[in-house]
C-alpha cells in the first residue's frame, strides 16, 4: 500500500485544473477531499486490488525479510537426501541434488522479483525520458522517437532475448537490459500523451513565461503530471517482466543454475517422472509466479482505476 502514496499524491493534472465552481450536487465534505484521498478511497473499494496488495506484501515479507530470521541455504547439496517429499526439516521437500526447495523458492523469489523490478525500472526510465522528450519537443524528434517505439513494440521481447542469449550467452544483466529496452515503448507512449495534453496548460505556460527552460519544464512540471500514470504502467510492466524472466529461465536462457529463480526451478520438471510423482518440485515455483504476477496485475489494475476511473 506504500505505493498508493506515490501514485496519487502529487497528481499533477489536478494541480493544473482551473478552479471550476464545484457542482451543487457535491457535498462540502467531498469537495474538501484531496485527490490522494479520493484515489485511495477508490482503491480501497476495489477488494481484488486490496487483496492483491495484501498477498503481495506477504510475498515481499517472505522473500526479503524471512531469510533474516530463519536459516535457509538454497545451495546446500545433500545427495543422500535427494528428491525427498515435504516433511519436517524440509518444508517443501528437496530437489534432485538434495537442496531444500523452500530455501530455493525464497531465494529464487528474490532473483525473480529483483530481475522484474530492475527490468521494469530500466523500461520506465527509458520510456519516461523518451516519451517526455518526444512530447515536449515535438517535430521530427517526436516522429523519430515514436516510430522507434512502434518498431520496438512490434518485436516480442521473449524472442529477442532468445536470440541475444544465443549470440552472447545468457546472463542476468543481459536479461534486465534486453527486457527493459524492449518494454519501454508502452510507458513512452503514455508519458508522451500526458505531456502533449499538459504542454499548453496554464501552469506550464506560466512557468514558461517566467523563463523556465525545456529541461526544467520536463523535470518539474510535465513528468510529475504523468507520475500517477507512470506508476500504473510500472506496476503492469513489473508483472510482465517477472513473467518473461520466468519463461526465459525456464527455457534455460535466463538466470543460470545454481542461482535459483522461479523459472529455472521448473526446468527440471520437464521430465514425466517429476511431473507425475514429485509435485513438490514443480507446483510451488509455478504457483509462486502465477500468484505473484496475478497480485501485481490486480494492484496495477486497481491503481489504474483509482488514478483514472474513466478508463474502467
Amino acid at each position: 500500500m506504500s505505493l498508493g502514496t506515490d501514485v496519487v499524491g502529487p497528481s499533477g493534472p489536478l494541480l493544473g485544473e482551473p478552479a471550476a465552481p464545484p457542482p451543487d450536487s457535491v457535498s462540502p465534505v467531498l469537495r474538501r477531499r484531496s485527490p490522494f484521498m479520493l484515489g485511495l478511497r477508490r482503491y480501497l473499494h476495489n477488494w481484488l486490488a486490496v487483496a492483491g496488495a495484501i498477498v503481495l506484501l506477504a510475498f515481499l515479507v517472505t522473500v526479503f525479510i524471512l531469510p533474516l530470521f530463519m536459516h535457509l541455504d538454497p545451495y546446500a547439496v545433500d545427495l543422500t537426501h535427494s528428491r525427498q517429499p515435504p516433511g519436517p526439516g524440509h518444508l517443501l521437500g528437496t530437489d534432485g541434488t538434495g537442496r531444500d526447495v523452500f530455501a530455493r523458492l525464497v531465494y529464487g523469489g528474490r532473483v525473480s522479483m529483483g530481475v522484474g523490478l530492475a527490468a521494469a525500472g530500466v523500461a520506465i526510465l527509458l520510456g519516461s525520458l523518451l516519451g517526455a522528450i518526444a512530447g515536449a519537443f515535438g517535430g521530427w524528434l517526436d516522429t523519430v522517437i515514436m516510430r522507434a517505439a512502434d518498431i520496438f513494440l512490434s518485436f516480442p521481447s521473449t524472442v529477442v532475448v532468445i536470440v541475444l542469449a544465443g549470440v552472447f550467452g545468457p546472463s542476468v544483466l543481459m536479461l534486465i537490459v534486453a527486457l527493459g529496452v524492449f518494454e519501454w515503448p508502452k510507458s513512452g507512449r503514455v508519458v508522451r500523451s500526458v505531456v502533449v495534453a499538459m504542454r499548453e496548460r496554464e501552469f506550464v505556460q506560466a512557468a514558461r513565461a517566467v523563463g523556465a527552460g525545456r529541461g526544467w519544464l520536463i523535470s518539474r512540471h510535465l513528468l510529475p503530471a504523468a507520475l500517477s500514470q507512470i506508476v500504473v504502467i510500472f506496476t503492469l510492466t513489473v508483472a510482465n517482466c517477472i513473467l518473461q524472466e520466468a519463461a526465459l529461465s525456464f527455457l534455460g536462457l535466463g538466470v543460470q543454475p545454481p542461482t535459483p529463480s522461479w523459472g529455472n526451478m521448473l526446468t527440471d520438471a520437464q521430465s514425466i517422472t517429476v511431473i507425475n510423482s514429485m509435485p513438490w518440485l514443480w507446483v510451488p515455483p509455478g504457483v509462486a509466479v502465477a500468484l505473484m504476477v496475478l497480485c501485481v496485475n490486480f494492484v496495477g489494475d486497481g491503481l489504474r482505476d483509482a488514478v483514472d476511473p474513466r478508463q474502467r
Partner: protein, 308 residues
C-alpha cells in the same frame, strides 16, 4: 517498415559479426571445416569474402539470405534453410489454431463482459482473463500434461505424431494440448481488448438509436456493434502475431513440438549461430508481415480507410 526491416537485418548481421567463434564454421558444412587444413580454411575465408570490408560482407550475406542460403548448422552439418523449412509449418499450424481458439473464446466473452458491464459476468471475465495472463504458459502446460496425460491418460504428452500411427486423428490428439495452452493464453489477453473495444462502441449514438427503434439487444450487438468493434480488434490481432511466436517457443519446448521455437532453443543451448541468425531473420520477417497485414486488414474491414 521496409527501412526498419533493412535496419534490423543490419543489426542482425552486426550481431553475427560480434558473436564468438570462427565465421567460416557457420558457412561451410562442419565436416569440411573440421577436416580442413589451415591453408584450405584460409582459401575458404577468401572465397567467402570474410577478408573483405564489413559492408561488402553485409551485402554478400544479405544477397545469400535472399537466395535462401543461410549457411550451415554447426551442430548437425545440414544447411540451415532446409532445417528451417521443415520447422515452419508445425509452428504456423500451432500459432494459427491457437489464435483461432483464442478469438473464438475472447469474442463472446469480451462482448458479454462489455454488455454486462460491472456485473458478475464482467467481473468473472476480468478475473479469468487476468488469471490466464498471469499464469506462465509453461506452468499451465505442465498442469495440462499432469491432468490429461498422466492422470486421465487421454492425450499424448509430447511430439506431433506417433511414428507408428500416421492418421489425422493421431495428429489432432497431439495438437489438443499445445493449442489449448497457447490458445487460452491468447484468449486472456484478447478478451480485455474486445471488452474495451465493444464498450467504446456501446456508448455511440447509433447504438442508442437502434435500441430506441426497438431492435433487440443481441441483434444490435451482432449487426452493429460487433462490426465496428472488430476494426481495432483485427489490427490488434495482426500485431499480436509476433508475440504469439514468443509463446509458441515456450509451448513447443514443453510439448516437444517440432517447430521453429524448439529449433531456436536447441540452437541457443548448442551455440549454433547460423541457426540462431536464421531464426532472428524469420522473426523480423514475421514482424514485418504482421505489420503489413494489420495495415491491409484495417483498410479491408473499415471502408472509411483508403489505401494509397
Amino acid at each position: 517498415m521496409l527501412i526498419a526491416f533493412l535496419l534490423i537485418t543490419v543489426i542482425i548481421f552486426w550481431l553475427v559479426h560480434l558473436a564468438p567463434g570462427d565465421p567460416v564454421s557457420r558457412l561451410i558444412p562442419i565436416d569440411e571445416y573440421n577436416s580442413g587444413t589451415p591453408a584450405f580454411l584460409k582459401m575458404k575465408r577468401h572465397e567467402l569474402g570474410l577478408d573483405q570490408p564489413l559492408i561488402v560482407q553485409y551485402f554478400r550475406w544479405f544477397g545469400d539470405a535472399l537466395h535462401g542460403n543461410l549457411g550451415y548448422s554447426v551442430a548437425s552439418g545440414r544447411p540451415v534453410s532446409s532445417m528451417l523449412a521443415e520447422r515452419i509449418s508445425p509452428t504456423l499450424e500451432l500459432m494459427g489454431l491457437s489464435l483461432l481458439l483464442g478469438v473464438l473464446i475472447a469474442l463472446p466473452l469480451g462482448m458479454l463482459a462489455a454488455v454486462r458491464k460491472n456485473g458478475i459476468t464482467d467481473y468473472l471475465a476480468t478475473v479469468v482473463s487476468l488469471v490466464t495472463i498471469s499464469t506462465p504458459t509453461f506452468f499451465f502446460g505442465i498442469i495440462a500434461i499432469y491432468v490429461f496425460s498422466l492422470k486421465l491418460h487421454l492425450l499424448p504428452s509430447s511430439g506431433m505424431s506417433n511414428p507408428t500411427d500416421g492418421s489425422t486423428s493421431d495428429l489432432l490428439r497431439h495438437l489438443v494440448m499445445p493449442v489449448m495452452v497457447l490458445g487460452l493464453a491468447t484468449a486472456g489477453q484478447l478478451t480485455r481488448y474486445v471488452r474495451s473495444s465493444v464498450l467504446s462502441e456501446l456508448s455511440s449514438e447509433y447504438v442508442r438509436t437502434a435500441l430506441a427503434k426497438g431492435i433487440p439487444m443481441w441483434k444490435v450487438m451482432l449487426k452493429h456493434v460487433l462490426r465496428n468493434a472488430l476494426i481495432p480488434i483485427i489490427t490488434i490481432i495482426a500485431i499480436f502475431l509476433p508475440g504469439l511466436l514468443g509463446g509458441a517457443v515456450v509451448v513447443e519446448q514443453i510439448f516437444a513440438w517440432p517447430g521453429m521455437g524448439q529449433l531456436a532453443v536447441t540452437a541457443v543451448t548448442r551455440q549454433d549461430n547460423a541457426v540462431i541468425i536464421a531464426f532472428a531473420l524469420m522473426v523480423a520477417i514475421l514482424v514485418m508481415l504482421s505489420n503489413l497485414l494489420a495495415d491491409l486488414l484495417y483498410a479491408v474491414v473499415d471502408p472509411r480507410v483508403v489505401l494509397k
